[in-house]
Structures are given as structure tokens and as C-alpha cells.
């Protein structure tokens, strides 16, 4: 491990950047060898900005403008197999078109960084934010981290390479920002000096790269004989993520003073009701909690960052003494036993003899705005359900019924 030093304040460049632009800058500083991507709203600025860096000679990256997202991820797998540091970006239908190759990337243990500007899936066509796209890919084997601010998106993108490329992990990783709400939102972003990022990440050390002089075959065929063993190893690898994640964040914190954790807790210690949500909605939830606290309500927030692997034990530990956890999530699992986020939480709590009530509110589909009042409504409902001693398995908020 390289010795990381605190970056002097004067070396930090402050700029007003959108979430997309912040990620493009991070990718530039991460000295990506290959970026293969197909533009799709609201991720487009990432690839546009990066193409500009390439055209202006600011990066040495081989940019491959492919004809589809399926090809984008395929090119990424190939380049990663050759030992390159690789990134791409997509959203919504683009992620859906990558589907087949997402599983290949994970199973072939390719540490690709995939930034997602979360966007609803068709139909009807909608360019705005929800989490149906990446939640759908939850079983692909990718690590998934969701971010709340442009600064966090920038920082997380840099850390993502170090986590993914660690030899105890070697898995692809999604860094998710909310489409438009963050991707097109200008904020103040503190950017690290190029050499600090270079020192922090080092050069990728591939374990077993493709080499024409020593030919090997990767990801060919394993039937009843060995396929299961591949999955067993993959399962072991993703379980290593929390330890490596914590180590990488600790190092990043030494350098920048910033770290975020697998989730953020906000006023949870004595909370009767804890709101669980993530991404930009997590920011709004914290503001709501602050206001309700001023009115004497005992409410806190867990803002999840890592959805895969899901930090079950740690979250259970934080929420177990609350009376209820109110989940706010931007995805419907049609006909499911629960919606994705609530299902994770309920499973994480199941082993407890006494567990908090879990209420589940589906919000913000297709970019429907989530104002503070939506959280207050869910909070009030949760209080009511606690009094009654029972709650519906989920309900939708902020929609015409």
C-alpha cells in the first residue's frame, strides 16, 4: 500500500460541475486505458466530456465509440481481460441492453467501473430518474454504490477503481447517480490534483491478463462439471467487498478528509422511526428529519450507499432498536413479496427476535418529484401504523390513484 498524504488545501481545484461532468473529470484523472460507451440520456455528458478530453489529448485513453451498449460492455470485458483499466457509462434502456454482458463481466472477474445515471425504463419512454434500471441488475454480480452529491460521485468514482481492482475483489462496480437530479445539477466540487489520484490508485495489476505470447482462454464453457465452482468463487469475492471498501475509504479519508461509509446514519441513535432511502432522496430525507426533530419527533435517516453487497448485519445493528423503519424507494417489483429495498431490509431483520415494523413507500417513479412533504406523509403514515400495530406491505406515494 502506498503512503497516502493529506492534500494541501491550495492544491485542490474547486469547480462548479454537474454530476456527469464530475464523473468525467474523475475518469480522466483515473487514467483509464479504455472507455467504450454508447451515449444515452442522462449519462451523455460523461461520455461527451470524456471524448473531448481524448480529442484534446488530455487523456491517453483509447475511446471506442461502439454501436450499442451490448457492444460497449463487450469491448470493456475484452479490454479488461487484456489488463486495461476500463470504464463505461449508461442508463435505463442502455443498461438493459448490456444485460447479458453484465453477468459475463462479473463472472469473468473484470474490474470495470460502470457509472449509471439512474433513469426509468420504458414504456412509456421517460428520461427521468428512478432506480428500476440498476435494481434490476442487482443479481448480476456487480458491486453497486449510490451517491447523493456531485462531490460524492466524483470521490466514489475514484475509489471504485481501487475497490474493483483489489485482488481480493476483482469484480465490476456500478457508481450510480440520480438522472437529471444529480447528473444535470451543478454543484461545488473539490477536485484532487492529478498526481494525487494517480498515486492513490497506482497502475492496475492484472492477475492473469490475455497475452498473445502466452495464450489462454477466458470464460469459455463450464457445464455441470465446473460452472457452480465459478459461482462459488464469485460469491466469496463479493463477500470480501466490505473489508476492502473500508480500507480504501480509510485511505481516501487520509488524503481528503472525506469518507462516506457503506451507509450514512443521520440522527439514528435514539430514533423511534428511521427512514431508509438512498441517493438524492437521502439528502431530502435528512432535511425532513431535521425539521421533524425540531418539532420533537424522534426520527433519523439511514442513507444507503452500498446496495450490493447489501450491508445486512450493519444496518440491522443500527435500526434494531427503532420502533419502525420507513423505506422510501424508487422501484416497483411487480407482484413481488416486497419491493427491492424493503425486501432487503426485511430479510436483514428477520433473524431478530424483536424487530422494528417495516413500512414501504414507493416514490418518484419516472422522475416524479420527491418533495419533503412526501417524506412527511410516509412518516405520519408509519406513526399511524405503529399505533394500529400493522401496516400494508407497501404503498405508493405522490401518484394519482
Amino acid at each position: 500500500m502506498t503512503a497516502v498524504k493529506k492534500i494541501p488545501k491550495d492544491d485542490v481545484v474547486i469547480e462548479g460541475l454537474t454530476g456527469d461532468a464530475a464523473i468525467a473529470h474523475a475518469l480522466k484523472q483515473c487514467d483509464v486505458d479504455v472507455l467504450a460507451a454508447y451515449p444515452i440520456t442522462p449519462q451523455t455528458i460523461i461520455v461527451e466530456d470524456f471524448q473531448k478530453f481524448a480529442a484534446d489529448g488530455e487523456v491517453k485513453t483509447k475511446v471506442i465509440p461502439v454501436e450499442s451498449e451490448h457492444s460497449a460492455m463487450s469491448a470493456c470485458v475484452g479490454a479488461s481481460a487484456a489488463g486495461a483499466r476500463v470504464a463505461t457509462a449508461t442508463a435505463s434502456a442502455g443498461l438493459a441492453l448490456m444485460w447479458e454482458i453484465l453477468y459475463c463481466a462479473a463472472s469473468m472477474r473484470m474490474p470495470i467501473v460502470l457509472t449509471i445515471a439512474n433513469r426509468a425504463l420504458s414504456a412509456p419512454i421517460n428520461i427521468h430518474n428512478d432506480h428500476s434500471d440498476s435494481y434490476g441488475a442487482r443479481d448480476s454480480g456487480f458491486i453497486q454504490i449510490y451517491t447523493q452529491s456531485c462531490q460524492e460521485a466524483y470521490d466514489t468514482t475514484i475509489m471504485a477503481f481501487k475497490i474493483a481492482e483489489d485482488h481480493d475483489v476483482l469484480l465490476p462496480i456500478m457508481v450510480c447517480i440520480d438522472g437529471f437530479i444529480l447528473s444535470h445539477n451543478v454543484e461545488r466540487v473539490e477536485m484532487l490534483p492529478d498526481d494525487a489520484v494517480a498515486d492513490f490508485l497506482g497502475i492496475r495489476e492484472p492477475v492473469q491478463p490475455l497475452d498473445p505470447n502466452n495464450p489462454i482462454t477466458m470464460g469459455p464453457l463450464a457445464l455441470t462439471d465446473y460452472y457452480f465452482e465459478f459461482k462459488e468463487q464469485q460469491d466469496r469475492a463479493i463477500k470480501n467487498v466490505p473489508d476492502i471498501f473500508k480500507r480504501v475509504e480509510a485511505e481516501f479519508e487520509k488524503m481528503t478528509g472525506r469518507s462516506y461509509g457503506m451507509f450514512e446514519t443521520h440522527k439514528t441513535e435514539d430514533a423511534d422511526i428511521i427512514i431508509l432511502t438512498h441517493s438524492t432522496a437521502g439528502g431530502t430525507a435528512k432535511v425532513v428529519a431535521d425539521t421533524l426533530r425540531e418539532q420533537g419527533e424522534k426520527v433519523g435517516v439511514v442513507r444507503l450507499r452500498m446496495f450490493r453487497p447489501f450491508p445486512s448485519e450493519e444496518i440491522a445493528e443500527v435500526v434494531k432498536n427503532a420502533k419502525a423503519v420507513a423505506v422510501f424507494e424508487k422501484c416497483l417489483s411487480f407482484g413481488g413479496a416486497g419491493n427491492p429495498l424493503a425486501m432487503e431490509l426485511r430479510t436483514a431483520l428477520y433473524h431478530l427476535a424483536e424487530r422494528p415494523m417495516v413500512t414501504d413507500f414507493v416514490i418518484g417513479l419516472g422522475g416524479r418529484d420527491v418533495p419533503p412533504t412526501t417524506f412527511v406523509e410516509g412518516y405520519e403514515k408509519t406513526k399511524e401504523y405503529l399505533k394500529k400495530g400493522e401496516a400494508p406491505s407497501y404503498e405508493t406515494l405522490g401518484v394519482r390513484k
Binding site: I127, H128, I181, V186, E187, P372
Partner: protein, 185 residues
């Protein structure tokens, strides 16, 4: 200072989104720790009414929803006043800044303190044109600095020059200064 919320009303192609962003940049350069600027993207096309938002605060900003109770509304096109309620949700002592040849006393709103300036006239005078049409988004930033005192004119001019280096930026910076000088309530 509590968080200030600003809503921008313009027409598709007028540069309202850019105004929102440039104001956020000027604000962080002037020392505000929390800034946000974000568009509302619908299925708009050139000429249709569009909205954008800016938040400014001394503290980092957590809230991520759209703005429903703005402290300030900036209207890039006087014609919009006839089409939509630009004061919707405006706080009681809020400010309304409008690009128009009219005087504030000529305009009547239910609430809000009205400021006007002739952005279109300034744009034509200084040749602030895109595809032959006057562009008023940079002059609005000058008027905004005058009406609110939240950002400095010099900072606004700096971000304009940074956005469009060379002659174009300079012309727009001059336009912003004239808007600053002529904006009145």
C-alpha cells in the same frame, strides 16, 4: 443567511438553464458553501416556457427536490407573464426580476417586489445575438446581482468571461454591467 431559492422562467433556447448554472458558479466563487443549479427538463422545444432552479446557502445543501416556494423568480421573457403564473409559490416578501421595457409600477402581481430592466434592448445594443436573435440570459445575471445583492457584478462577469472566452464573453460582460446599472424597482 437562510437558504435562498430561485426559479428561472424562460423559453426553450433563451439560456435560462445556463443562467441558473452561471449564478451557482458565481455564488460559490463569492463564498457560498452550498450551491445547486438544475433544470426542469420536460418535452420542451424552442420557444416553449421552461423552468430552471438555483439554490444558494452558506451551508452545504441537502434538499434535492424541485423548488416550490422560491424567494426570487427571474423572468427572461415578459410574454411569459401572460401565459403562466410566474409568482406561483413566491414567498410573501419575494423578488420578481423581469426583462421588459415596462416600469415596475406598470406590472401588477399579487405579491412580490418587482424589478425590471430592458434586457432585450441591451442585448440588441451590444450585439448579444444567437442565430440573429437577442439573448438575455447574461444580462439577467447583472440585473440579478443588482436586485438581490447576493452575488457581485464582478463575479458574474468573471463567470461569463470564463464560459465564453474572448470577444463574446466580453460583450456579454458589458451587457451584464449595463443591466446592473439600469435594473430598478
Amino acid at each position: 443567511m437562510p437558504m435562498i431559492e430561485i426559479r428561472w422562467h424562460g423559453r426553450g433556447g433563451q439560456g435560462g438553464v445556463t443562467s441558473a448554472e452561471l449564478l451557482a458558479k458565481a455564488a460559490y466563487l463569492d463564498g457560498y458553501k452550498g450551491v445547486q443549479a438544475f433544470p426542469y427538463f420536460g418535452a420542451e422545444r424552442r420557444g416553449a416556457p421552461v423552468k430552471a432552479f438555483t439554490r444558494i446557502s452558506d451551508e452545504p445543501i441537502n434538499v434535492r427536490s424541485q423548488i416550490y416556494t422560491p424567494d426570487i423568480v427571474a423572468v427572461l421573457d415578459q410574454g411569459l407573464v401572460e401565459l403562466i403564473d410566474v409568482t406561483e409559490g413566491l414567498v410573501e416578501d419575494g423578488k420578481i426580476i423581469i426583462n421588459t421595457t415596462l416600469e415596475p409600477s406598470d406590472l401588477e402581481f399579487e405579491r412580490g417586489h418587482v424589478f425590471t430592466y430592458d434586457g432585450t434592448g441591451i442585448a440588441l445594443k451590444h450585439g448579444l445575438l444567437v442565430a440573429g436573435l437577442p439573448v438575455v440570459n447574461t444580462t439577467m445575471l447583472g440585473a440579478f446581482a443588482k436586485a438581490t445583492g447576493l452575488v457581485k457584478l464582478e463575479t458574474v462577469q468573471d463567470v461569463i468571461r470564463e464560459k465564453w472566452p474572448g470577444k463574446v464573453g466580453e460583450k456579454n460582460a458589458v451587457g451584464a454591467a449595463e443591466a446592473y446599472e439600469t435594473c430598478s424597482d
